[in-house]
Symmetry: C2
Subunit: 433 residues, 2 copies
Amino acid sequence: MSSLYSPDTPHANAAELAAFDALFAASSAIGATANGGLHRLAASAEDGAMRDLFSRWLSEHGFEVQVDAVGNLFGLVTLAPGKPYLLCGSHLDTQPNAGRFDGIYGVLAGAVAVASVARQLRERGLTPAFNLAVVNWTNEEGARFQPSLIGSSVFMGSLPLEQALACRDGAGVSLGEALAAIGYRGEARAPLPLAGYAELHVEQGATLEQQALAIGVVRSTWAALKWRVRFDGEQNHTGPAPMAVRRDALLAAAHAIVAVRAEAARHGLKLHSSVGRLEVEPNSPNVVPALARMLVEYRSPSTALLAEAGERLRATLAEIATATQTTFEIESEQLREPSELHHGLSELALATCAELGLAASNSVTVAGHDAISLNRRYPTTLLFVPSRNGLSHNEAEFTASADLHRGLHLLTALLFRAATAPGQYLPGADHAH
Amino acid sequence: MSSLYSPDTPHANAAELAAFDALFAASSAIGATANGGLHRLAASAEDGAMRDLFSRWLSEHGFEVQVDAVGNLFGLVTLAPGKPYLLCGSHLDTQPNAGRFDGIYGVLAGAVAVASVARQLRERGLTPAFNLAVVNWTNEEGARFQPSLIGSSVFMGSLPLEQALACRDGAGVSLGEALAAIGYRGEARAPLPLAGYAELHVEQGATLEQQALAIGVVRSTWAALKWRVRFDGEQNHTGPAPMAVRRDALLAAAHAIVAVRAEAARHGLKLHSSVGRLEVEPNSPNVVPALARMLVEYRSPSTALLAEAGERLRATLAEIATATQTTFEIESEQLREPSELHHGLSELALATCAELGLAASNSVTVAGHDAISLNRRYPTTLLFVPSRNGLSHNEAEFTASADLHRGLHLLTALLFRAATAPGQYLPGADHAH
């Protein structure tokens, strides 16, 4: 692959591609499932083993390893002391029985890209305008601990550290305890000063594959509305209790789940909806359920549409509660506003794709990413590579090696350009000298 | 209370009523919940503690304690060696966060009744036609281990012992392992030879309370149809995955839960329906559920109506699967036929109520009971006392002490009459001599 590019074009060399392949293969073995996927929940033993492997790799390749108080794992290459860092990365945790690529690709390609840029700067005798770093954010997925994006939210100051560490999993273990158990509850420190952030990720959609594109440069995000709703009924015997007196919390939740889906049907392609999680108590045969708690989400490019859907859901929940003799409570409401990614960095990414001969286009993300957190304050770019059939959060998630390598070349070249000639993309930065 | 009855009428004396009260109070403290209920799942540590207490009580009161291979705990009083036993009892396990009376009342009142009958036989110098025994059946509730009625089903030979011991709870622990852990996995032995079985229970309905009756003599049972149904969908990301490609197993289950309830609405008072348990996988935020497994039950006096409901459900499940792009499988189907309780023992119970001056009537049970298992082969009677508001499988389940004592008197007198003059009620038995 590397021989495709002229020496003037920054790119990963053959040894670096091989290093990425080896790292990715090693990751795919830690928490591997029988069906070729990964089950590596945040701050689990498997996550600890993966962090150990990644930390060793960073140390062996000249990175300074730092772990912050919420377990975010940084690898720093400081070439311009006193200057801020160009950070790249993503997350090494997965959903239950999920794929090998989501998040992991961005961390491992990020590490190799940083090492490659450092080598090329050295070979060309350049001192960059910024330092370089890679990061593994803690608990991006929100599977074991809610909410999602915990690590990057604490880094950005939008989630208090104490609140993050106090989040508990289904077994009652706090994130703080879980991180301590695997040795990744680090020390409180000032956030790394950043010049910008780049995240490489598999698309989680089929657009690139359908359009035969190598790269999607994300320009904007959908908004998301997430509610946690509970219905309370009354425990009773499922046999003798007359139907007329039953107060069945699961029946109420079932009506609500159907209504949430109907909301999406009402809006065509402009609204996605889901209930991914439902807890039932006591969830026992022969017992009318007393409690049902569910996570409802609506996603749309339009916050107005989300507000409309939310108001209709509020009214529907009340109707369902009345009809089922239950009560309901909206325990939490969270609105993630839509946002635009950084114009300059996105344009640099497109220009770099052109330089590398990679077919690219603008893209949009429906899913949340750590990049969306970072984008609130720092120039941020989010870059997609194709994912077969768009299948995501699934063991069968797949991206071909050639596509992974193209993304790695892009990230390498992008970081090199941003670090050495940032002026037109990152205003206020000095050029390399 | 005991002074109400003439010396000729068998009944529990004041010391025996006090012994019952003390046993019941001790039971109410083992696995007690903050809201005044009990959480004492089958073969749990709490179940073990309760069994220890009960075994000690039996030994101290002259019973021979036997534990069979599935953990059924018998207390034997052998007064007529070689003769079969009149057995009474119920179960000491509970549903999660359930009441203090369900099952427990029948075991503890049964033990006291047997001790009382033995005393009265001794005092009157009678040798009975049958021996006496009390039993605590293992895992009646089917909460921790499915199916319900495991102990009595193994005793009756309708469930193979190996299959029973291999049942696993949600954490993967087998019933055999759990019984061994609490010291109640006994030795295989031939079933105790029985002359008949009597079970005293709280009503789990409000009929007795509404009609101001002390006792309901159950003459028949409703039939029950229980299906375990699973929907399989496809794990995907709840954000970017287009709604049109989603295969959401939880959405399918929600439609099915609504349809199961609609079936009950179609038949007025003749059909009860429920989904008490739903398992979702992976049940994680941001993941379209790949699997939903639910326990559906229909109950009715009419098997024809259950068959009709079952066929309609089968068709509905197929429609739901098509509409949601999921597949479904009926993993198990269980039909419990309706049955008539033993005529002779039921008549004896009514006559004994008349002798004791207890207002009684014929009754029917919708719920399953160990007595229904025993009834397939042995003369069996099932006796209800009132339960406030009919609330069952709920921490607020309540029966007044006076009602509990009335039932204890009845069981004592019934066992005495059946043991000493069984001829007209239990044909073929010798009279006492």
